[in-house]
Subunit: 160 residues, 2 copies
DNA sequence: TATTGTTATACTCTATAACTATA
DNA sequence: TATAGTTATAGAGTATAACAATA
């Protein structure tokens, strides 16, 4: 395996043979949030390794449609902070895959309401527990109390 | 301005005329970190609006080279959790822009050490205060104490 | 054999703007 | 005149693999 990039499963980003001083950069929320998000997604992909390839974005969309049946595309896009153009492509692909259904409501025929199909529900059932149950950062670093506090602070930051 | 996407400067992601129930998804760290990072970057770009176009990634690289003179490309890439191939392109562009200098050390002639040039230092001086001084989430949502605790938890999560 | 940086390729994500159909 | 969704295009970012030089 001469060039497998090794998927650097090291616990710390910059700790190895060579260390690095992050200085004041390492105290800015923007920088910390970026690294933390990368680390969280890496843990996610490691956890789903070998299983069916479901991406965080698509999984989230399915879960949100399930819990908000008939939600409109634009509302979903705004909630996930992605552009409507991107949401269109995403939802279209999921429609072609037979996972979601798109219907035009009578009261506003410009918009499109989203519902899960049978297969969509079935796929959700397959990954929901694993997806929601996978606790990021559970590997010793943060205590359960700290994880809860981190969630609380992020939700307040986001005004969720 | 018929289609300016309005840069949705709303305080909350999903709060508007239409609301959305995030359900259990809104309690997962991965989801919260992703949204928080997007929000942080949006605040960053809003704050730098109109000023010279410096991107967070490049600014971070300059700041880290300044504080770790002679740091090798690979070490920098690992610390920032980006691939070496991407770091190559980034650093090459910055070299062409005259901001950094790349030298081959005697003890390991495979590697490349990075230093700031005069112009690189000058550009750093121009944005450093604004970049480091810009406090993400300062707009009322989190108290200074909460921001400090958030930073602490993220650093512990990242083992920084 | 392994590692550092490089190049090339492809795919995802994102940003922007113009377009349509509705409102 | 504005809005919801669409389409097209371009640009970042990222992943992957193969390669040369060096260790």
């Amino acid at each position: 395996m001469p060039e497998a990039e090794a998927r650097a499963r090291s616990p710390a980003p910059g700790r190895g043979e060579d260390s690095i001083d992050f200085g004041p950069v390492g105290q800015t929320l923007g920088f910390l949030l970026r690294l933390a998000q990368l680390e969280a997604f890496r843990e996610f992909f490691d956890a789903f390794e070998g299983r069916e390839a479901i991406r965080p974005g698509e999984a989230t969309v399915l879960l949100l449609i399930e819990i908000n049946p008939g939600i409109r595309q634009g509302v979903l896009a705004k909630a996930l902070m992605i552009k409507r153009a991107h949401m269109t492509k995403m939802v279209r692909a999921m429609e072609e895959a037979g996972l979601v259904e798109r219907t035009v409501p009578e009261d506003d025929r410009r918009s499109i309401e989203l519902h899960l199909t049978g297969p969509g529900r079935a796929q959700l059932d397959r990954f929901r527990d694993h997806f929601l149950g996978h606790e990021v950062g559970a590997e010793s670093r943060l205590t359960p109390r700290e994880r809860a506090e981190l969630r609380r602070l992020l939700r307040k930051f986001l005004a969720l």
